[in-house]
């Protein structure tokens, strides 16, 4: 009997406690930078598209929500002709980001993407592509991979093969 009265009193004291609820739209919580939210396509510091249309993200995607078509520009550089992510299927697992060799596809901290119409959740390339380098401001794939480093030329590193001449048919 006494314990019941004590319970009532303790609960009554909660009247003066701070409320734990965060009133979301007015008051936003800090979101950690590694949050897996809306997917974007980034550009390298010189403003070119990072994506080389290698299809690795599309392959890695467990729900097959990424579809793209590769194309080549006049300099022989690959780029996606279209790049489509169906966010109504996406589970925000981040596998695409891990698979990407050029750090082009990145998950951001934005999660407010509700829509009334399901088709509006299918994002095209122009919706995905941003103007900046995203989370990696200085990274440029073509300036890091396949280049000579200090003291070693191309293909001279340990367990490294000489560069392949892509212009010949010889093995």
């Amino acid at each position: 009997m006494l314990s019941i009265l004590k319970t009532l009193w303790l609960i009554l004291l909660h009247t003066f406690r701070r409320r734990e609820t965060v009133l979301y739209p007015e008051e936003k919580r800090r979101i950690p930078p590694r949050w897996r939210g809306r997917i974007i396509l980034s550009r390298s510091p010189d403003g070119k598209e990072r994506c080389v249309a290698c299809y690795l993200c599309s392959v890695a995607c467990p729900v097959s929500c990424i579809s793209l078509q590769a194309a080549e520009d006049e300099y022989g550089r690959r780029y996606p002709e279209f790049f489509r992510i169906n966010f109504s299927r996406c589970i925000f697992c981040g596998f695409c980001e891990e698979a990407c060799p050029t750090l082009a596809i990145q998950l951001t901290t934005d999660f407010e993407m509700s829509e009334y119409v399901r088709m509006n959740l299918v994002y095209e390339k122009e919706d995905l592509l941003i103007d900046g380098p995203g989370k990696y401001p200085d990274y440029d794939f073509y300036r890091i991979s396949g280049l000579a480093v200090k003291g070693k030329g191309k293909g001279e590193g340990d367990e490294e093969l000489p560069p392949v001449d892509v212009r010949t048919l010889m093995p």
Binding site: I4, T7, L8, L10, I11, L12, H14, T15, R17, R18, R19, E20, T21, L23
Partner: protein, 318 residues
């Protein structure tokens, strides 16, 4: 029998206000529960979330009103109405202030007990007619609980009647002018409050509708407006019991400075909040414990209270 306009308007106004207030109590309960659980509760629709009730009502009214094919249709439809009718007619005797009441009989208190007794049919018939085992279990529990606690409720009020010498609500309130009955009838108050909670079957005595055991107990199969009747009926019941605690033990509308109606509303409001506080803090007892509490503690306490009150009245000689 004088039939004038005000004798129609008064009951109608009281009825409407009660229905509106009981719907609004849903909002109050959610806000208070949230307050005591360090949350906010509904605060989006309208100022302070007050229009949440309207939204809920629209949702409930536009839902499909479904009668299961295995149900006993006639009884299934009648039983939610029983709870509304009995509780609303029990309000007839509640005197909100001098002159503001639907009726004043010389057997007010007994009329209230009889309406509460008839209210027991609502869960019983609802549970039986649903043709669902969980509902039937809820109905069985409701029967045993309500029939038992009616006894204690009636007995606990007899002390008040003995002190007043009348079953009339006005007499009972007027008799409390020197001293509210919550002091000489403290044990009567305790029994009445506990029996009141049991009869409204709210937490902690909500065994007939225990969600984690019986889906929703006797109203499992109900939807739409019929469920709404049970839902609002529960809150009406809370208002009824709270206002009667006020009337029988806390001096009704008596009080200084403020007008009588204000005092009545304030006191009733405090007890309604008390009901919600109980819901916020106490767990549900086991069923046999509930019955044991009733028959082994409440009944002796109520009888003892009555006997002691009677002997004191006899000894003091009036």
């Amino acid at each position: 029998m004088t039939v004038n306009l005000s004798s129609f308007i008064m009951p109608l106004a009281i009825l409407l206000i009660l229905l509106i207030v009981s719907a609004w109590l849903i909002w109050l309960e959610r806000r208070l529960l949230a307050l005591w659980q360090d949350r906010y509760g509904p605060n989006r629709v309208g100022p302070f979330g007050l229009a949440q009730v309207i939204a809920d009502m629209i949702k409930m009214l536009t839902k499909e009103d479904w009668v299961p094919p295995f149900a006993d249709r006639a009884v299934f439809v009648i039983s939610p109405a029983i709870t509304m009718v009995t509780i609303l007619s029990a309000f007839a005797i509640v005197s909100f202030a001098p002159g503001i009441s639907v009726a004043s009989l010389n057997i007010d208190l007994l009329f209230f007990i009889s309406m509460i007794a008839l209210n027991a049919y609502s869960p019983v018939l609802a549970g039986w007619s649903s043709g669902n085992r969980y509902s039937l279990l809820g109905a069985l529990r409701a029967t045993a609980q309500m029939v038992s606690y009616e006894v204690f409720m009636g007995l606990s009020l007899m002390g008040v009647v003995a002190l007043t010498g009348s079953f009339n609500i006005l007499d009972i309130v007027e008799a409390q002018r020197p001293l509210w009955f919550c002091i000489p009838q403290f044990f009567g108050l305790v029994v009445f409050v506990i029996a009141g909670i049991a009869l409204t079957h709210r937490i902690p005595f909500d065994l007939p509708e225990a969600e984690n055991e019986l889906v929703a107990g006797y109203h499992t199969e109900y939807s739409g407006l019929k469920f709404g009747m049970f839902f609002v009926g529960e809150y009406l019941n809370v208002i009824l019991i709270s206002s009667l605690i006020t009337t029988f033990f806390f001096g009704g509308w008596l009080g200084p400075v403020l007008p009588p109606l204000a005092w009545f509303i304030i006191k009733t409001f405090v007890f309604i909040c008390g009901f919600i506080l109980l819901r916020a803090s106490l767990p549900r007892p086991r069923y046999d414990r509930l019955m044991a509490l009733g028959w082994k503690i409440m009944l002796p306490l109520a009888i003892l209270n009555l006997v002691v009150t009677g002997s004191i009245i006899l000894a003091s000689g009036y």
